[in-house]
């Protein structure tokens, strides 16, 4: 970085080494590195992966707010994986503290939980944490860089710093002369970063809170955006895999036909499968299809009925995982209302099939891939290859959708296994859609049981048990990280809801490990939001109360009450509906964000039609209203589409769904009109990628009940009712 300068902010007692400074500048370890200025331009480092949620833009905007640059004046770069980019917001949601509780002890516990995350330098994109993690530290980085550039300008001109201002990547002198940041780069590199005492008051913000244009929008609208799958390197070959659909070992295989096919260069066994390396992706995939293999058995139950039975058997004392909520006396009901709910495995199925390009030479490994876990990849590939982690270079790529898919790195391991055998040749491995689907680490399967009661027109008792395997244990087992204690995700989105029900208990039961599972957009709340809110809706109906009014009456958290009231206004909740129409409300507080959804449906002779969706969510502070609207709307549509028609089922140990004709989710013609409103009453700033998902499915189920009188307690709903 000769002639350049990097800036960050002094935020932590023992900061990690600045990965942009190089080994010889250990003395500057107190700087966290987000701003890189060279004579060629300004680059903002945006370490959180962009998988469509606009993370690059929002990170850049937070830095730019203090740095005084326009978003069209900068380049962005995800940077190299480094401990300095650890996620400060991730740990707080691993603890069983209500996100609505901001008292001293809870804050203290959150800060303690942060310590191991920092020690490990865990650089993860996920959990709707990009904004809470970066909201302050990226602005500090921008402010430090700005003040240091002003100091450099003062040195250059002999003017006092107090007379200098900044605007659009320039320092402005009192006489109006502009000195570009870029021209100050080498001088700024020689001075110590200036300590900044305070961030700007929100009243001075130029970017935050105002509509922004995403920095990738033109590239993505003109076919110019490159994703990982578009990586091209000189001499690169294309690889495809044929993997055991039962996720176990390969007993035997025959590739005699594949070997002779046009363009095939090599056939190399990989973990649990076989790879074909060819001069073209299609030729590699065709040859992989031609391989005959004898697959070993699945390391989990082969048939779906066994998976459901394992969950049913887990509602037992010896599977008790947590009981974070237990108030009043849930046994006091004489005529209990009983119900059972189910949610299936779901694939992530982002539109870009997973892929990785790997080049192994004698001295280093380079990896080009879209990933949410670059540091884990470094560690895993080090273990696999024997290379030192410092010699493994991960180049983060734009991601064509993830929904949690890129929290796994199986494709990188496979690509590296191949590239280790073909040193000097870059190998791009692309999973076919069918392999991507068959090998997905899916959303958890889950089951819930309600025993509730009502009295005098009110909900009085809600006792909800939830059984699922541990998502976090399954996911982290593939990263070699043992997880102790209860898994808060088993009950997330259910135990932590802001309602005062007199007798109220949520119990988590840990089912045995079944098919491998992972985080799927909104994680535990993706199933539990459905269970909890549908249970509440049934109880409210039994009490004879209004679904929205009773939720508002029970609510004990002001921002949550407000989103319920607002979604009522948006949907004109009390307005009369025609015969055959129905309106349902769903609510879930997840990732600290209360989100309420109202769905309107019509029961047509051909099935249920989704007419309108209204959603209100409170993230504390909206960084970009345009992207906020996109994320909540997208989350609601994602939740609805999967609730209507998606599931992954296993037969003979193999996923029965292979492509989008069997796993369709929402199409344009089924998509309701969507209206979104954002509120800012919450106490802390939160992310918005996930919270729109959990309340969507229950809102639809409750709307279908209102329209038809039919309670649907199992996703996908099309097993029970037709949709237009």
């Amino acid at each position: 970085m000769l002639g350049g300068v990097v800036f960050g902010a002094v935020m932590y007692k023992i900061p990690h080494r600045n990965p942009l400074q190089g080994d010889k500048q250990e003395g500057q370890a107190a700087i966290t590195p987000y701003v890189l200025i060279t004579p060629d331009g300004i680059t903002l480092i945006t370490p959180r992966a962009d998988k469509g949620q606009g993370a690059y833009s929002v990170q850049a905007a937070l830095i730019a707010e203090e740095l005084d640059v326009r978003l069209d004046q900068i380049n962005i770069d995800p940077g190299a994986p480094a401990p300095a980019y650890y996620n400060t917001a991730l740990a707080s949601d691993l603890l069983p503290f209500r996100s609505t509780n901001t008292n001293y002890l809870t804050e203290l516990a959150r800060s303690i939980a942060d310590a191991p995350v920092k020690l490990l330098g865990i650089q993860i994109t996920g959990g709707s944490t990009t904004v809470p993690d970066g909201y302050e530290k990226l602005r500090w980085a921008g402010a430090t860089a700005r003040e240091t550039l002003k100091a450099a300008a003062a040195q250059q001109t002999g003017l006092p710093v107090a007379q200098l201002t900044t605007r659009d990547a320039e320092v402005i002198l009192p006489d109006g002369t502009a000195v570009s940041y870029v021209s100050l780069a080498s001088r700024a590199a020689d001075i110590d970063p200036v300590k900044v005492d305070a961030l700007r008051d929100p009243s001075e913000w130029r970017l935050i809170g105002k509509p922004m244009q995403r920095i990738d929008i033109t590239a993505k609208s003109t076919g110019r955006q490159d994703y990982g799958i578009d990586v091209r390197l000189p001499g690169m070959l294309h690889a495809a895999v044929r993997l055991n659909p039962r996720r176990g070992p390969v007993n035997d295989y025959k590739a005699t036909q594949a070997e002779t096919m046009r363009g095939v260069k090599a056939i190399i066994p990989v973990t649990d499968g076989i790879s074909v390396i060819a001069d073209n992706s299609w030729r590699a995939m065709q040859a992989a299809q031609a391989i005959k293999a004898d697959w070993g058995p699945a390391p989990y139950p082969a048939e779906m009925v066994e998976h459901w039975q394992a969950l049913a058997d887990s509602f037992a004392e010896d599977h008790l995982d947590s009981q974070f909520l237990d108030q009043g006396d849930v046994t006091a009901t004489d005529t209990p209302i009983i119900a059972e709910y189910r949610a299936p495995y779901l694939a992530h199925a982002p539109l870009e099939p997973i892929n990785a390009t790997v080049l192994v030479t004698d001295t280093r490994i380079d990896i080009w891939t879209g990933t949410q876990i670059p540091r884990f990849i470094q560690a895993n590939i080090s273990a696999l290859s024997g290379f030192d982690p410092d010699d493994i270079h991960v180049h983060g790529q734009m991601i064509g959708g993830s929904f949690g898919h890129r929290l796994e790195d199986q494709v990188v391991r496979h690509a590296t296994e191949i590239a280790m055998q073909m040193r000097g040749t870059p190998i791009k491995l692309t999973y076919s859609r069918e392999e991507d689907c068959a090998q997905d680490f899916t959303r958890q399967i889950a089951m819930a049981r309600l025993r509730g009661g009502v009295r005098d027109g009110k909900v009085e008792t809600c006792d909800l048990g939830i059984a699922m395997p541990s998502i976090i244990a399954s996911q982290m087992s593939r990263q070699g990280v043992p997880i102790a204690g209860p898994d808060a995700q088993i009950v997330a989105g259910a135990w932590d809801q802001p309602f005062d029900i007199p007798n109220y208990r949520v119990t988590g039961y840990r089912a045995p490990d079944l098919a491998p599972i992972s985080s799927w957009r909104s994680v535990g709340a993706s199933t539990n939001g459905f269970f909890h809110d549908c249970a509440l809706d049934e109880l409210i109906h039994a009490a004879g109360a209004d679904p929205l009014a009773e939720r508002i009456r029970l609510c004990n958290h002001d921002p949550s009450r407000k989103v319920l009231e607002v979604v009522g206004e948006m949907s004109d909740w009390s307005a009369a509906m025609d015969e055959g129409q129905g309106r349902g409300v769903g609510f879930c507080l997840s990732f600290g964000v209360p989100c309420a959804v109202v769905i309107e449906v019509t029961n047509t002779p051909r099935g249920i039609r989704l007419d309108k969706a209204f959603a209100a969510a409170d993230v504390g502070r909206i960084i970009d209203p345009v992207n906020f609207e996109a994320q909540v709307s997208g989350g609601v549509i994602f939740g609805l589409g999967h609730a209507i028609n998606c599931e992954i089922t296993y037969a003979d140990g193999m996923a029965e769904q292979a492509n989008y004709h069997q796993y369709e989710a929402m199409r344009l013609y089924q998509c309701p009109q969507v209206e979104i409103r954002g509120l800012e009453n919450g106490e802390r700033i939160c992310g918005v990628g996930e919270p729109g998902v959990p309340p969507a499915a229950p809102a639809l189920a409750n709307a279908i009940f209102a329209a038809t009188g039919q309670r649907i307690r199992e996703m996908p709903f099309n097993k029970h009712i037709d949709f237009v």
Binding site: K51, G52, Q53, G54, Q213, R214, D216, I217, T218, A219, K220, S221, T222, G223, R224, Q225, D226, Y227, I229, D230, R232, H238, R262, N280, S281, W282, R283, M285, A349, P350, L351, E352, P353, G400, G401, S402, T430, S432, R433, V626, A630, Q631, S633, G634, G635, V636, I637, F638, G641, N659, Y660, E664, A665, M666, R667, L668, Y669, C671, Q673, V674
Partner: protein, 152 residues
């Protein structure tokens, strides 16, 4: 074998059954058309052949009869097609991976229907899958583009 893509003639040596998508992506380095499903279920690979929207993952290159236009040839950041301009104005894209196909499908559709109703838009574009759920903005952008094209 010869083919013409975005106005440029290319000479290729491939088997006739190779889908056009993989000729474009791996042989010619034209990566705007995307691989999503390989079975004409998602529409991410949509290109125009003589102005008609086709699924390039299902078109054997040997059966190609006509000039190919990909998203790169529809317009450029410097000279946007009206549909691309509308896509930018409405900030449709999230991950953006499906949007090349959405835009190509919308362009061919508006060529034959310059004043579409909501129902016609839904029918015309429902074969293009978007996993991020950008559908409300797709509808809005198609209407904006239709209005702009009608003025021209």
């Amino acid at each position: 074998m010869k083919l013409k893509v975005n106005g440029t003639e290319h000479q290729i040596d491939v088997e006739p059954e190779m889908p056009l998508l993989w000729v474009l992506r791996d042989e010619l380095g034209i990566t705007g058309p995307k691989y999503g499903c390989g079975i004409a279920q998602c529409g991410a690979c949509t290109v125009h052949v003589d102005g008609q929207a086709v699924r390039s993952c299902q078109l054997p290159v040997g059966a190609l009869a006509g000039e190919v236009t990909t998203i790169e040839g529809l317009g450029s950041p410097e000279a946007l097609h009206a549909i691309q301009a509308a896509w930018i104005e409405h900030q449709v894209a999230q991950c953006g991976y499906c949007q090349s196909g959405q835009i190509m499908a919308a362009a061919a559709f508006l060529d034959v229907n310059d004043a579409p109703t909501d129902a016609e838009i839904d029918r015309a574009l429902s074969a293009n899958l978007c996993r991020c759920g950008t559908y409300p903005r797709i509808r809005a952008a198609v209407k904006t583009a239709a209005a702009k094209l009608a003025e021209a």
